[in-house]
């Protein structure tokens, strides 16, 4: 979707303000929000792409005005309600009024948490050979799916070069739109700045995206 989350190349957001000696969390609720999201994310009720999509579909003004962990909290509330894990009334009351339903995967015990925090694999066996080789010139498609995509707007319809082949990975677009794992080849595609930003662009800059094969056509 052409959402507010797709920020690459936008102007007007001001300077990057780095906080010296930033703590892991600025308040205890931030840590709890993070942990709730990580634990529920491991129950198999949705995958990482679905989780992202439910942040992207926050109203744009809410997205821009919410801190990172506030967005994570709103996402988790919305997803849990949408998936029938709890009700809005229960959230409003702050208590459950009935038992939970079985989760796809049992919730992690404290002993299982360390394993859960090590990043898992998103690569899957390939069903066909990679269509593009390193060095190939490719054009990103001009697509605007209403659902989730990982092809950012700034990189649509542009010619770049395959720099790396990253293996065959879970395809986020299908994971969200169809609820299925449909692995696709993943490539690092690099663009000259002038291709993305026009003749006034800084000629010393080269930018890459990680592009799934369905985003690409031969150029």
């Amino acid at each position: 979707m052409n959402g507010i989350h797709d920020l690459g190349g936008m102007d007007g957001f001001g300077k990057v303000e780095a906080e010296p000696a930033e703590p892991p969390f600025h308040d205890t609720w931030e840590g709890r929000a993070l942990a709730l999201n990580r634990l529920m994310g491991a129950t198999g009720e949705w995958n990482i792409d679905v989780g992202r999509y439910w942040i992207e579909t926050l109203p744009p003004a809410v997205y821009l005005n919410s801190s990172y962990y506030r967005k994570w909290t709103l996402r988790l509330e919305r997803l849990c309600v949408a998936r029938g894990l709890l009700t809005q009334q229960e959230l409003d009351a702050g208590h459950a009024t009935g038992p939970g339903r079985p989760l796809k995967k049992k919730t992690a015990t404290p002993a299982e948490v360390d394993r859960l925090l090590v990043r898992g694999s998103y690569s899957r066996p390939a069903t066909a050979p990679a269509r593009f080789q390193v060095g190939a010139r490719v054009r990103t498609k001009n697509i605007h799916p209403a659902s989730h995509t990982r092809l950012p707007r700034f990189a649509r319809g542009h010619v770049g070069t395959i720099e790396r082949i990253q293996g065959c990975h879970v395809f986020p677009d299908a994971a969200v739109a169809d609820g299925v794992e449909r692995p696709e080849w993943l490539y690092t595609v690099t663009f000259e700045a002038s291709e993305l930003w026009g003749p006034d662009a800084d000629p010393t800059v080269r930018t890459s995206i990680e592009a799934f094969e369905p985003y690409l056509e031969a150029a």
Partner: protein, 196 residues
């Protein structure tokens, strides 16, 4: 937000979906165990051991596995090397993808709209916000983390550090130098810090 998150946690707990002790364990891991010191150890090893560096650049996840770190590092990590002619920078324009396993939680600025919007288009002005100025002819290579690959920058080893132990080298490696918004500390900066 304190109340709102507590309400969510209470309902999820009462439903049997989460164990509060598991939540405690996750918070504790990111407060105490998982942070940029892990990445700094990896960079120091790469500086000290050319064979390891080669393996790291080929497949960072597999190379780091051989280090036997206490905190394991997961899949799809890619290390990109800074050279005198190329400087790498990592961003996630679409959300906040970040190599948590080796750097811990992303700082607020990394997830902020200014960083995510500007880095792919005008990385030099972003670097200026961090007080970093590179030679005008240095290539700036920006990596937008749009998939599950995660990137860590291998910064250039500072001059005057020949023969340093990995432990001493690791103290030069800042979090920002592994994102590409900073450089490793110089030997003089490290010595000043140690004396302070």
């Amino acid at each position: 937000m304190q109340l709102r998150v507590r309400a969510l946690e209470t309902v999820l707990t009462e439903k049997g979906y989460v164990d509060p002790a598991s939540l405690d364990r996750i918070v504790e891991a990111y407060e105490t165990r998982i942070g940029p010191h892990i990445g700094a150890q990896v960079v120091a090893r790469a500086w000290a051991d050319p064979a390891f560096k080669q393996k790291l650049l080929e497949d960072a996840s597999r190379a780091i596995e051989t280090m036997g770190l206490k905190q394991k590092v997961g899949d799809h990590l890619v290390a990109v090397e800074n050279t005198p002619t190329t400087h790498n920078m990592i961003v996630c324009t679409l959300c906040s993808c970040y190599p948590w396993d080796v750097l811990g939680l992303p700082p607020v600025w990394y997830k902020s709209t200014p960083y995510r919007s500007r880095s792919v288009k005008e990385p030099r002005t972003v670097l200026a916000d961090f007080g970093v100025t590179l030679p005008a002819d240095t290539t700036i290579r920006v990596w937008d983390s749009t998939a599950e690959t995660r990137f860590i920058v291998l910064p250039m080893r500072p001059d005057g550090t020949d023969g340093w132990s990995e432990e001493r080298l690791a103290a030069l490696v800042t979090r920002d130098s592994m994102i590409g918004t900073g450089l490793a500390k110089t030997a003089a900066e490290a010595n000043a810090g140690a004396g302070a």
